[in-house]
Subunit: 352 residues, 2 copies
Amino acid sequence: MDRINAIRKQITSVDISKMKRAQERLDALIKPRGSLGKLEEIAKLIVAITGKENPVLRKKIIFTFAADHGVVKEGVSAFPQAVTGQMVYNFLSGGAGINVLARHVGARVVVADLGVASDLKPDKRLIIKKINYGTKNMAEGPAMTRDEALRSIEVGIEIFEEEFKNGVDIVGIGEMGIGNTTAASAITASFTNMPLAQLTGRGTGLNDKELENKIRVIEKALAVNKPDAKDPIDVLAKVGGFEIGGLTGLILAACARKIPVVIDGFISSSAALIAYCLEPKTKEYMIAAHASVENGHIFVLNHIGLKPIFDLELRLGEGTGAALAMGIIDASLKIMTEMATFKGAQVSERAP
Amino acid sequence: MDRINAIRKQITSVDISKMKRAQERLDALIKPRGSLGKLEEIAKLIVAITGKENPVLRKKIIFTFAADHGVVKEGVSAFPQAVTGQMVYNFLSGGAGINVLARHVGARVVVADLGVASDLKPDKRLIIKKINYGTKNMAEGPAMTRDEALRSIEVGIEIFEEEFKNGVDIVGIGEMGIGNTTAASAITASFTNMPLAQLTGRGTGLNDKELENKIRVIEKALAVNKPDAKDPIDVLAKVGGFEIGGLTGLILAACARKIPVVIDGFISSSAALIAYCLEPKTKEYMIAAHASVENGHIFVLNHIGLKPIFDLELRLGEGTGAALAMGIIDASLKIMTEMATFKGAQVSERAP
């Protein structure tokens, strides 16, 4: 907890004064004021976060954290638990959705095992920081101990710091974990008090009956565990997951280093929600990539106060939406740095 | 008219049968079915349009057509008419928004003068196919003659065919013309019968009073000219623009060659609307990039039956939204061609 508290104290507000100057520069470009909409907002935000007048995002990393969930015993997922570990191998071999989309935007994928239920083959590209072999079944008791929750956050901090040594300009967060929309729904319910029927979605593809069961399982998990929303670590421990805790730590560490964090879908956003509840200033460093198909996602974004860049009806996770958003973020900065000004280009300004 | 009719006859429906096969391939990839949402829909559409199983969009072109509008005499724009020509020079020197965003996605910008009000300096990168020195003031009579309307469409066809000789895999359409949101609103009103108060927006930044004036000017133009919605050439001639006619022709020619057409904002969409009214099959080749801030845009898209990929609150035109959308379209095809399959990657499929 000491390390987490130390990181929290390092997180300071972004430099709002820089946004005004960035807006002035955007207004000098040969276009009607504000006509590039969200691109202008994003560019200003990156200036405020990084404190740099001309930020260039050369080193992009998508962190994809994997872990398993004991609650799959309750039949909350359409896919078998083995898929979590199998997908980790695919992240390493470059054939998963996140690999394709990360390549598309020039980002690197950093894969970490924070709690896959089986031992994965060692691979120099795989970070193995297993907290445990999957969480316990949250429908029967806490998913993890408080110590494990703290450890998962600390591991996320460690992984970020390791990469930060080699340079990173922007991070995207993603995840893989069969059963983790159940954890994300339970976390969201704990903090927002929204009804589970609204917060719970079909994940990888549940039918109506399976969805009803999933809602009942989450109800039971909340009743059995009574997570305390005033204590985000308690929520993470009782109904969270190791990959979620890891992403929470990663967000805290990135904010402390003034690195923009691109949030992917529902599960990544539940990690962002925990980070936000631990330290509200983290919100200033977050960019919500997209609005997921998964029901609960928009409620998490609303609770934090984030607006997604786009809605491409995605629900894959892994960081795929965050990767696509990095392409748009790059474009927004190029607008600011590569476009000509009215003065430089001798274009008449609007009538007085 | 003969050339336009000949092109219309060459436009055949896209190959829907290929979409089913593309969906099967998408379903075999290591992800829950349909979890990449719009990316999957776009990939299937490109397969159907091109008829290719593995389309790769190497040669991307954004066509940015410029022309002036006599209606600016009525005070419908916040910027002076001279800006149209000034911006053409900027498109050539690479400092405009469209240049930045086209470079970002690896697209080339082809700039053509279809009716700028002044003589532009010759430049080998500039296509000069001036129909006239701007349109006439539509508030007083037809913006152009019927012959000029036909000629503008034919010029659009010619420009496409010239580029097609050197190869093109996808086109985006964009425009520049001070006063052209007035033309786009008048065109949209002619075909949709929606009230002008809903169809008319602030363009480059009108205030409330100027917006009221713009609506009155369009009302007058429609009353004076009585454009016949059953005759799209009549609508183009009476309340359109040379750049809009050119884009209409370009769309027809691209569809005849089975090349996907990415539609940008309100003005580009008004050209798409004319093309659609001339030949409804053109719709099958169109991809709507974005939902513009400009009020009338969504009504045009609804009328054609197109759904925008994203909403970034853009209202610059030039083809900027189309360029950004090309990045997403590229990503969708990479998903289809670069992702591993369940079988190939030894990932367990969902529980039966």
